[in-house]
């Protein structure tokens, strides 16, 4: 006989979950408690163990779908009829008196009906009183209405939906001219963080264009040294070091706004966020205690961190709790940008592309390596004066790395 396993409430009143991946396929044998899928709720990423032993007949929803509690997930053909069929849909929590009222009557349920025996008896589907009234008024047979309520019960909304769907709808279903991508995972988090930041912190962005030829020459020489072998030695490395040094004189940018206590929290350490593009989206892992790292250690830390972030294996701690961030849009050949501050921080520096441009150098037109730096800062925490001084200090150190050296 075939058994359906419905999405249970995995954590004290959750209403839906995303099926992240299936660990089994159709035709595969599964044992009792064998992991069949990984699902993610608002609270946790968990593995689902199979409640039945048998052969997978059908996967009822695709990986990546977010479905409400009670949705059938998988159908498993169990080999013996002696398996106790579930007397109820295994969904325990979160439905209050309605579910209790229904469970008082031992009524045959669709899920418990064996799929492959005898003609199905007419089953009175679970439905709320309001749904029954709505169905009666519209002359709709409740057994044909797909239920989305608790345990698959038909809700009033389902009846209305069903009634509405009888009329032809324009442009229903996917169209080839558009693709609809569900928002989840890193994209969802990024979106929430950006909206929160953009609408709570008043952003100010400033720019400076600077001749960085000497930094480019310095990088060339560093790359030739044995200890830097295999490390990523780029303008980002020097910009990161310059930022950290500049923060010593301008600690206001290395701070956070504590709304609850109405305090500005100035950090005496630098956890430097580096924006990294990964296959899963943008993540901002942090180099911890960056203020105590030498240039070599910093290069090593950034190289490792970006590799881990791209592999998707970073510890969650590395994604949270930075003090200031650096983003490098220059790698995409872009001059500059107006970055949005990471929530919880007060500033983010943006490094544009470093390219050869005509530049007035020592009174004459020359071909020089030039870049545009920008910084966005939270105007609640940082005033224009401090922000400007910080940016010009970073620019000065990139212009002449000797100025950076002098402060090490």
């Amino acid at each position: 006989m075939a058994q359906e396993f419905r999405l249970p409430d995995l954590g004290e009143g959750l209403t839906e979950a995303e099926l992240v991946s299936w660990s089994v396929e159709v035709g595969q044998s599964v044992e009792l408690n064998q992991v069949i899928a990984e699902v993610e709720t608002a609270k946790a990423l968990v593995e689902l163990p199979s409640p039945y032993a048998g052969v997978v007949e059908e996967l009822l929803i695709p990986a990546g779908a977010t479905v409400p509690v009670g949705t059938p997930l998988i159908r498993i053909a169990t080999d013996s009829a002696s398996d106790t069929p579930p007397t109820r849909t295994p969904v325990l929590v979160g439905y209050g008196p309605e579910a209790a009222a229904q469970s008082r009557r031992a009524r045959p349920r669709a899920a418990a009906t064996p799929e492959d025996t005898a003609p199905p008896e007419p089953v009175r589907p679970d439905a709320s009183p309001a749904a029954r009234l709505a169905a009666r008024e519209r002359g709709i047979d409740l057994t044909v209405v797909p239920g989305t309520g608790p345990s698959g019960a038909v809700t009033r909304h389902d009846v209305e939906e069903y009634a509405g769907s009888a009329a032809p709808r324009v442009a229903a279903g996917p169209s080839e001219r558009e693709t609809r991508t569900p928002v989840r995972g890193v994209r969802k988090q990024t979106a929430a963080a950006m909206v929160r930041s953009a609408f709570t912190a008043p952003h100010v962005t400033e720019f400076v264009t600077v001749d960085v030829t000497r930094s480019v020459e310095l990088l060339e020489r560093l790359r030739g040294r044995r200890e830097f072998e295999g490390l990523s030695v780029t303008p980002l490395s020097i910009a990161a070091k310059a930022m950290i040094v500049a923060l010593r004189e301008h600690p206001d940018l290395n701070a956070s706004w504590d709304e609850e206590h109405q305090e500005i929290v100035t950090k005496h350490y630098v956890d430097l966020g580096i924006a990294v593009a990964t296959p899963r989206g943008l993540v901002v892992p942090h180099v911890r205690e960056a203020q105590s790292l030498s240039l070599l250690e910093l290069c090593r830390a950034i190289t490792e961190l970006t590799a881990i972030a791209r592999s998707g294996k970073a510890d969650p701690a590395q994604f949270t709790g930075g003090t200031i961030s650096l983003t490098n849009v220059g790698v995409f050949g872009v001059d500059t940008g107006t970055p949005i501050i990471n929530p919880g921080e007060s500033a983010i520096v943006c490094l544009g592309s470093v390219s050869q441009r005509p530049w007035v150098h020592e009174g004459e037109l020359a071909v020089r390596w030039v870049t545009t730096l920008s910084v966005s800062f939270d105007h609640r925490v940082v005033d224009g004066e401090q922000g400007s001084k910080f940016l010009s200090s970073v620019a000065a150190m990139l212009h002449d790395p000797v100025a950076l050296l002098a402060q090490l």
């Binding site: 249970p8 609270k43 946790a44 199979s50 409640p51 929590v93 009222a101 469970s103 009183p129 510890d315």
Partner: protein, 365 residues
Amino acid sequence: MVDKIAYPVQLLQPDGRRVLRPEYTNLVRDIGPDELRALYEDLVVTRRIDVEATALQRQGELGLWAPMLGQEAAQVGSARALRPDDYAFVSYREHAVAYCRGVDPAEMTRMWRGTAHSGWDPHAVKVTNPAIVVGSQGLHATGYAMGAHLDGAEIATIAYFGDGATSQGDIAEALGFSMSFNAPVVFFCQNNQWAISEPVHLQSPVPIAQRAAGYGMPAVRVDGNDVLAVLAVTRQATQRAREGSGPTFIEAITYRMGPHTTSDDPTRYRSSAETAEWKARDPIDRMHRLLDWEGLLDGAFLTRVRTTADEIAARLRSGAVGAPTPPPLSVFDHVYASEHPLLEEERAEYAAYLAAVTDTEEALS
């Protein structure tokens, strides 16, 4: 009077070799080959119980479960130190304590499934039902111990709680009261390093056991993943209680290898490196290695243990899935020992509500 907090007592290293600490080794001198095998079986069976119940929650059969994965030795070692008349007051994670006290596996899931207010008759097995309120059982244990003391009963009472509970007022009061009145109670703290997502160093900058010193209470730290050491220190502490020498505080250093409850995702707050470090100190692996060292492992024994574990897991599953759903109005039963007007009013209101829903449904169908 207060012992200096020394290095945690350990009788069994993670690699399975014995450690000689005469003052504690002597306390478990009677544990021979058969007893060692029995302890191993307890560890394996209780882990199986825990895994089965966790799976049942994921399958929608239980509302919640608090896994104890990794804490088997702390619980089995301490529970096996108790005598039949001793009484255990537990939190919500002491499934192995319940098992060792003789609770039927089929009864363990009732409360978590919501089919009963309590899972088993506490007085029959001398272990309370799970206390969800953190730390409350410390006071209950102290009160029970005081009663036993006044009755002249030579028994020990043991209170189980976690590292987080030591920051609760209930535990602080229990420690103070029991010390003032010399209550025969053992405070058994399983320091599993995490109070949900709060690491133990936020509870206390000093070892948890050191908190007992403030009350003048003797305390001992023990390797909680070492079933023999836990057995030894708990035997010592319960004996002190029975003899009328007053309370003892035990800090069993262990690790919750799974989530706080099935609603929790520990990967959000702790690193995989930390989990791996504790995996190497797994209490069952350690016992397995000891038996191996001492030539006590054979195929027949391992098969028997596995079969026992499977049978108990199957009993737990059928006990959970087959439990009858109680009628809704029974929620009002057993709240008070005698009649209670407010409760009667609520019962009548709820009955009227249920009847109204039924009438509507029948009228419409």
